[in-house]
């Protein structure tokens, strides 16, 4: 009966939850209930009418029978009674008949229906006869197979004679059955059942058809809504309907079209964005390439210059040495002294060129990256500088848990050697002579600091110290040997690592150089933030 869902695209709903099934059940229940109830009420009414008619007829029959037997009982003529009984027995619907005399004894009996009589004998005792049947009204015999059977015990009275009232002559007791009554009731019952059945048979297909007419567009709308999300082609929607379904369909169609517009807009925007990103990326790549080329060219230039500048210097030095070797003793002191000065100047120039070469190498050939235990490295550097540090009575505090980082070992060594060496060199004659190496992780940066208690660096010098061959104005006159390459190379290395070096300083209190490296460089660390500084 129930129409199965033809299209599989709508999500399956369990049978007992389907709208169509539920409505069908509801309609069936309603039909059965209303038709059944009305039929039952009709039946009750008609049965009541039939019962009343039967009872009336029974009473009439009783009165007729009493009339029949009165004369015979008055005469006490048993032969007449027999004759009357014979006549009465032919009365239709009479199951059995008893005639009692004044004392209640049966004087005549006629049985048409033995079954009913046996039932009567079993159910009605003499007392019952007296009490239940005493009121001369028809009583149901109470046998299921003949519910319409009525029993009546009618007194037979003599004609009235004066004030004393009529004399009781006896009773006529009979059971009256109306076969038409029973047939009518049964017919009605069948009719009622038939009507219910027909109502059901009509309502089921009717409901199904009606529901299908409602459900089909609803399903289509449902499928359309399901498809909305995927953005695929929508099925035809019943937008022309004037009912609520039409309204729903129209609003779904509108939503779909505005969604499609939005999607198209989004895709266009996306495409534009992608093109833009591609263009920008290409530009960036080009710029990057240019920059890399420039850096490479610059480094190449630096390398070549350093090398080519070295060759004549080497020759000058060689010639000078050769002159001194060959003619040393023969030369006047003045000439020898000048030759020494030439050699010294050449050495200075040459070492400056070496530094330039070194600086250019940081970028062009940095070496292999490996896991470098910073603590170990710094302790190694301090060990190498032990003599100088001891000579100047400088105390070194190195944090216990410096991390392990992924860098080029030679460059890392260069950084910390320069920083610590610088701090030691410029310490001067300070009352407290201490160098502290510690680290801290701040956001994206691992910050390793080398702090000293030296004289500090004047504000105006703070940027100069990182430039090649520039030293702080104090440094030049303080008699500290140095060429001013150290911090420049430290800066180059740290920038090569993708970090930066910063300087904080208070004149008269000390300076702190902080190397910031991206945290991604940390390989492992016992990073107890609180324990990162052991030196107070």
């Amino acid at each position: 009966m129930l129409m199965r869902d033809q299209d599989n695209s709508t999500p399956a709903v369990p049978l007992h939850h389907r709208l169509q099934f539920r409505v069908l059940l509801l309609v069936l229940a309603m039909v059965v209930l209303t038709v059944g109830t009305s039929n039952w009420m009709l039946k009750v009414l008609i049965e009541k009418q039939l019962d009343a008619a039967l009872e009336r007829e029974t009473v009439r029959l009783g009165e007729y029978l009493a009339e029949e037997f009165r004369q015979a009982l008055m005469m006490r003529n048993s032969a007449a009674i027999e004759v009357h009984i014979e006549a009465a027995a032919s009365e239709p619907g009479l199951a059995f008949l008893e005639v009692e005399n004044r004392l209640g004894a049966v004087v005549a009996r006629r049985i048409n229906n033995a079954e009913l009589h046996r039932h009567f004998e079993a159910v009605f005792s003499d007392e019952a006869k007296q009490s239940a049947l005493a009121r001369s009204r028809p009583v149901p015999l109470g046998w299921k197979r003949t519910p319409e059977a009525r029993i009546l015990r009618m007194p037979i009275l003599s004609p009235s004679r004066g004030i004393a009232g009529p004399d009781l002559l006896g009773h006529v007791l009979f059971v009256h059955v109306d076969p038409v009554h029973r047939a009518t009731v049964e017919k009605m019952r069948a009719l009622a059942f038939g009507v219910v059945l027909v109502a059901c048979l009509i309502s089921v297909p009717l409901t199904t058809v009606l529901m299908r007419r409602l459900m089909r567009p609803l399903r289509r709308i449902l499928r359309a809504v399901t498809l909305l999300a995927s953005g695929s082609e929508l099925p035809h929607l019943p937008v022309k309907r004037v009912d609520e379904l039409g309204l729903l369909a129209r609003s779904v169609a509108e939503t779909a079209s505005s969604l499609a517009h939005a999607r198209a807009d989004l895709m266009r925007a996306n495409a534009t964005l992608e093109r833009d990103v591609e263009a920008r990326t290409a530009e960036l790549h080009a710029a990057n390439r240019r920059l890399e080329q420039e850096i490479e060219t610059k480094n190449e230039f630096l390398r070549t210059v350093s090398h080519d500048l070295n060759a004549p210097l080497r020759n000058i030095a060689g010639m000078t040495t050769m002159l001194q070797r060959r003619f040393g003793e023969a030369l006047p002191d003045e000439v020898r002294h000048r030759l020494d000065r030439i050699a010294a100047n050449v050495r200075l120039e040459s070492s400056m060129l070496d530094d330039l070469l070194e600086l250019s190498r940081i970028r062009t050939r940095p070496g292999e990256r490996e896991k470098v235990d910073l603590g170990e490295l710094v302790r190694g550097v301090v060990g190498a500088l032990e003599h100088e540090l001891a000579e100047r009575s400088i105390v070194c505090d190195i944090a216990a848990a410096l991390p392990v980082i992924d860098v080029e070992r030679n460059l890392a060594r260069q950084v910390f050697l320069n920083l610590i060496d610088n701090a030691a060199k410029y310490m001067g004659n300070r009352p407290v002579r201490r160098i502290t190496v510690s680290h801290v992780v701040e956001g994206q940066w691992l910050k390793v600091s080398v702090a000293d208690t030296g004289p500090g660096i004047a504000e105006s010098d703070r940027r100069r110290v990182f430039q090649v061959f520039r030293r702080g104005s104090e440094a030049g006159s303080s008699g500290v040997p140095g060429r001013g390459i150290g911090l420049a190379s430290v800066k180059a290395v740290v920038e090569h690592w993708g970090g930066e070096i910063t300087l904080e300083s208070v004149v008269g209190e000390g300076s702190t150089f902080t190397v910031s490296i991206p945290v991604g460089r940390i390989v492992s660390a016992d990073l107890g933030p609180a324990s990162s500084r052991t030196a107070a």
């Binding site: 090398h307 070295n310 080497r314 060689g318 070797r325 060959r326 070492s351």
Partner: protein
Amino acid sequence: MIAKKPESPRMEAVIVLVDDDPDYRMLVRDAIESLNLPVKVYECVDGCDGIRFLKQAGAVGGAPRLSLVLLDLEMPGADGLEVLANVRADDRLRDLPVVVMTGVDDDEVQRRALETGASSYTCKVKDTEDMLRRIEAAALYWTTVHRQLSTRSSAA
């Protein structure tokens, strides 16, 4: 002591100096001459000159008998490695000791030079005394080795 021994011209060692820097050539010549070895120094002014001279000397065979090449790397035209490759490709020059002397202190360059067939790699270091000593040592070592080898081969 070897130097003091009277030598026949045939036994005189020949050192070929290939370098485009005339001043440096002068220095090397001075350094070698200061050793008082029985050697003759030939100078080639660049790589092409070096290749030409070495091929010619190799073809002549006997005299002048080559015992050592001091080779600069960075030269215009044919560079040191090219000269070296030519020497090693020539049957008559294959066993000739070639000492590369260069201002380039670079592991990569050194590796390539040794791969191409350099007998040793010497840097033109800053310290001139040191540099001169290195030149002298190289000259002394290789000429001695060469002389002993050739003595042995001529005896056999």
